[in-house]
């Protein structure tokens, strides 16, 4: 049985996420997202709710410390969490820790946090790959790989047999034949490869905020898929009325003002898959993000056709994330929903309201383990 504190914990998480107890919302500090702070460094937020109490204002009162230095010397940073100090308002008093994590660890944390299942790669043909592992010992090799202990042992053996080993003066002199080296053993591994194809609507209605959401979301999706597949490729497609393939940087920076034909991106995506990725060997993940506007019903019809005839057959799943924007109608979600329903097996739809919705949306996308 779970300890009752898990219930307190769940309740706290809900309050943090703003699902219950709206009145406590203003006391919540520290968000929920792990923020990358340079390579391998991440800031882990510690959200907390501070109950209002009578307390002292005036932060300039400072604190006390121990150490060297003269009057006027700076101390690094300010006072840490102290009772009866700190100012009201946003950001203050929010706890976070900065830690060093590898992508692996971070992905694991993400997986645990969101309870993501491991992906079952497609049961089709898998790619063979050869990998060298230094697990054996050989008689030839470069000096840098010399195995000292084994070499010593060989010399000792030889000297004992030859009777040149003197117990009083246990000197071991290896000769060329004694040398042993770490040697590689070639292993055949079955690898699975994946490709993620991001498509994003960059028409005028997608603002910076929306793009930031897509960027964050794609960071986490990449992280998780990288964790799951040994070999992963990522392709980017932007579109308004026409689509083109771009690099990552352009993907997040471009802003066009034209109309929106989603089918253009789908067609390009289809072509890319046909050209570069054999569906039998690759796990294919097309992601499409938009605010839900499409030019016409006819175009939407075309989109659905492409999905049905090409994309869905080739890919593990097709994900559509609709970022809420002031201008977007959200119609595309409705159209997809009508056709595939919310819990279709290989079409996953998610609405992302705001930054806080990102984690939930990732869970929706990756929660199926496909």
């Amino acid at each position: 049985m779970d300890h009752p504190i898990k219930r307190d914990h769940a309740r706290f998480r809900k309050i943090i996420k703003g699902k219950i107890r709206e009145n406590l919302r203003k006391y919540v500090s520290g968000g929920d997202m792990i923020i990358p702070k340079g390579p391998k460094r991440f800031s882990i937020p510690m959200p907390q709710i501070e109950i209002p109490r009578f307390k002292f204002g005036d932060k300039s009162q400072g604190g006390m410390g121990q150490g060297q230095g003269n009057s006027g010397d700076p101390i690094d940073g300010g006072p840490e969490e102290q009772e009866g100090e700190g100012k009201a308002g946003q950001g203050e008093g929010s706890k976070e820790v900065e830690v060093e994590l590898s992508i692996e660890e971070l992905a694991q944390i993400l997986g645990e946090e969101l309870e993501l299942p491991n992906i079952q790669p497609k049961g089709r043909h898998q790619i063979e790959s050869h990998k060298d592992k230094y697990t054996t010992i050989g008689v030839i090799g470069p000096e840098s790989l010399r195995h000292f202990k084994r070499t010593f042992r060989e010399s000792l053996k030889r000297q004992l047999i030859m009777g040149t080993y003197d117990f009083k003066n246990p000197l071991i002199v290896p000769v060329k034949n004694d040398y042993r080296y770490k040697a590689a053993h070639t292993k055949v591994e079955y690898e699975n490869s994946a490709v993620v194809i991001y498509m994003m609507d960059v028409s005028g209605s997608m603002g910076d905020e929306q793009k930031e959401i897509v960027r964050t979301e794609s960071f986490w999706i990449n992280l998780w898929l990288k964790h799951q597949y040994k070999n992963i490729e990522i392709r980017y497609i932007i579109h308004d009325a026409t689509a083109k393939e771009v690099d990552e940087d352009t993907f997040f920076k471009t802003r066009e003002s034209g109309g929106t034909l989603i089918s253009s991106a789908f067609i390009l995506c289809r072509d890319i898959i046909k050209k570069d990725y054999d569906a039998n060997e690759w796990n294919i993940y097309p992601f499409h993000f938009s605010d839900g506007d499409n030019w016409s019903l006819d175009d939407t019809k075309l989109c659905l056709e492409i999905l049905d005839n090409d994309l869905l057959n080739a890919s593990n799943m097709f994900c559509y994330g609709q970022v809420e924007s002031r201008y977007g109608s959200g119609q595309f979600y409705k159209d997809l929903f009508e056709k595939y329903g919310e819990r279709s097996d290989n079409v996953i739809l998610s609405k992302i309201k705001n930054k806080e919705g990102i984690l939930d949306s990732i869970k929706e996308f990756l929660g199926k383990g496909k």
Binding site: H3, P4, I5, R7, D8, H9, A10, R11, F12, R13, I15, R21, N23, L24, I44, M46, P47, Q48, I49, I51, P52, R53, F54, K55, F56, G57, D58, K59, S60, Q61, G62, G63, M64, G65, Q66, G67, Q68, G69, N70, S71, G72, D73, P74, I75, D76, G77, G78, P79, E80, Q82, E83, G84, K87, A88, G89, K95, V97, V99, L101, I109
Partner: protein, 537 residues
């Protein structure tokens, strides 16, 4: 808890050994029960203030969230946990190395001795395990009956008041309270008598508020009678009787809810400003019985933790002093020395941003021991001008050990610092104060001046770091409003926080709440009337 285990044979042997060392050194304590548990269990216990059961509330979930994250990311680890009960319960992390377990055990015996012998703990309920469990049952029951959200909402409001405690209450046993009540009664009787003589009966009755002589007398008699009855009762009966009395008292207030001024008229008779605001509200606010009970529950728990809040430096210093002594003089194996030194140093780490209570405490105790061994105290020593002579001062008194035991008995952090922090000590430990320099936009070392350091330390410890706030008048402006007074010792209140806190008090008191304070060097009264906080014109 299911997830804790009793000690294995090895640890049991260690415990016996270390316990014996502690006893030999003269420590005395309630028996310590060690339990071994995994890190998740330790996190749970730590989140719940050391206890296996607490009432359902998100804040324990929040603590748990933080402890778990801290552990998962390797930034913090709970090293040692012990709770002040009889027997004392202490928890050992199963993943710890033997040398760590030893340090923890030795440290825990230090705490256990402090809990038992320091006077600020003299009245704590050592059966808090049961009390906490009862509180949980009660609050759960209220939640079932009145709705979880409703009860939680109310708890949140009351938690706003958790730092408005009266330290002297720690010495308020029932006997003391009764005695005080009687004194108050007699005092007010006499006050009335003295000026009653040369005034007419009519004037007298006009002058008196709702409290008539008659009422007072009868109440006084009643109290006396009850006292008599009670002394013949068993403990259990007495408690029940008190609960009844409490409920009756309470219902009386409930009846008068509709008429705030009538309610207030009774309350007007506040013999002195009340610092125990939770108690005041539990007894006098127009709230339902369960709400009043919730306040009492939270109050009891807050007071249970109060002694630990006012003796943090001493308590940790004392425990560290003893783990250091026991380990280095008795228990350490040669192979464990580096590990011990490493971990001990980790605990003692000083920082330029904060004072480490462990370090400050242990060094002060050592300093006191040293001074009383050598006689470096008192008038003669202080007035000695010869720096050389002072340095080599040694009267060979050998009273150090005796002295620190005496200190650990009678002091709290404030008196401890006030009495024993010396200029030499500050210099030796490189203490300084710092403050924010708006010009350079950074925190900078302010001064190493002894008095300034001491002042800063003491002011931070005053009233356990919380503002002193008292209920001064329960019928302010004769409109049943509450008047709180902030005793201003130099630092203004944060008005944002004050606003939200007063809003919560207002929700309980149900009449406007006033706050008398000083802001920007001006005496000012703020009022919260249910809508906004504004100065009273």
């Amino acid at each position: 808890m299911d997830n804790t285990k009793p000690l294995s044979d090895d640890l049991l042997k260690l415990k016996k050994e270390i316990r014996q060392y502690a006893v030999d050194y003269g420590l005395s304590f309630y028996e310590v029960e060690f339990e071994v548990c995994d890190y998740d269990t330790v996190n749970i216990l730590a989140a719940q203030g050391g206890f296996p059961t607490r009432y359902p509330h998100w804040r324990f979930g929040m603590e748990y969230d933080q402890f778990s994250k801290g552990y998962a990311y390797g930034v913090q680890k709970i090293y040692e946990m012990v709770i002040n009960t009889n027997p004392c319960y202490a928890y050992l992390l199963n993943a710890n190395h033997t040398v760590d377990q030893k340090i923890v055990m030795a440290h825990v015996y230090g705490h256990a001795d402090f809990f038992k012998n320091n006077s600020w703990f003299s009245n704590t309920n050592r059966k808090m395990m049961d009390v906490m469990a009862n509180h949980r049952t009660k609050i759960r029951r209220y939640m079932e009956k009145y709705g979880a959200d409703e009860v939680e909402l109310f708890i949140d409001k009351i938690l706003s008041l958790e730092n408005l405690l009266d330290i002297t209450d720690l010495f308020e046993t029932r006997e003391v309270q009764r005695h005080r009540q009687e004194i108050d009664m007699i005092a007010s009787d006499e006050k009335n008598k003295t000026f009653a003589d040369d005034r007419s009966e009519a004037l007298r009755s006009f002058m008196k508020s709702s409290y008539t002589e008659q009422q007072k007398k009868s109440k006084k008699d009643k109290i006396k009678n009850k006292e008599k009855e009670k002394s013949q009762m068993t403990e259990e009966e007495r408690e029940r009787a008190e609960a009844d009395e409490y409920a009756a008292e309470h219902n009386k207030h409930k009846d008068s809810v509709d008429d705030p001024t009538k309610n207030a008229a009774i309350l007007k008779v506040l013999p002195r400003p009340q610092r125990d605001i939770m108690k005041f509200l539990a007894e006098h606010a127009p709230i339902t019985e369960w709400q009043s009970d919730v306040i009492s529950i939270l109050r009891e728990e807050a007071y249970y933790y109060l002694p630990q809040r006012v003796t943090k430096i001493m308590n940790e210093g004392w425990a560290s002093y003893w783990h250091s002594r026991i380990m280095t003089e008795k228990s350490l194996e040669a192979s464990e020395i580096t590990d011990f030194a490493d971990h001990h140093a980790g605990v003692m780490q000083t920082s330029r941003k904060n004072l480490n209570p462990y370090k400050l405490g242990i060094e002060l105790f050592r300093d006191i021991e040293y001074r009383w061994n050598t006689g470096k105290f008192g008038k003669e020593y202080n007035e000695c001008d010869d720096i050389h002579q002072k340095e080599n001062w040694d009267l060979k008194l050998g009273k150090g050990r005796e002295k620190i035991f005496e200190v650990r008995k009678g002091h709290n952090d404030i008196s401890f610092i006030d009495e024993y922090l010396t200029q030499e000590f500050c210099n030796r430990n490189q203490m300084f104060t710092y403050k924010f320099n708006p010009r350079t936009n950074r925190f900078e070392i302010d001064t190493r001046d002894f008095l300034a350091i001491k002042m800063k330390l003491l002011s931070g410890l005053t009233n356990y770091g919380s503002p002193v706030i008292e209920v001064e008048d329960a019928n302010f402006s004769n409109r049943g409003e509450l008047l709180l007074a902030h005793r201003h010792y130099g630092v203004d209140l944060d008005l944002n926080y004050a606003h939200d806190t007063m809003k919560n008090i207002w929700a309980v008191w149900k009449r406007p709440v006033n706050l008398k304070t000083k802001y920007d060097n001006k005496e000012i009264i703020f009022i919260f009337d249910g809508k906004e906080l504004r100065p009273v014109a």
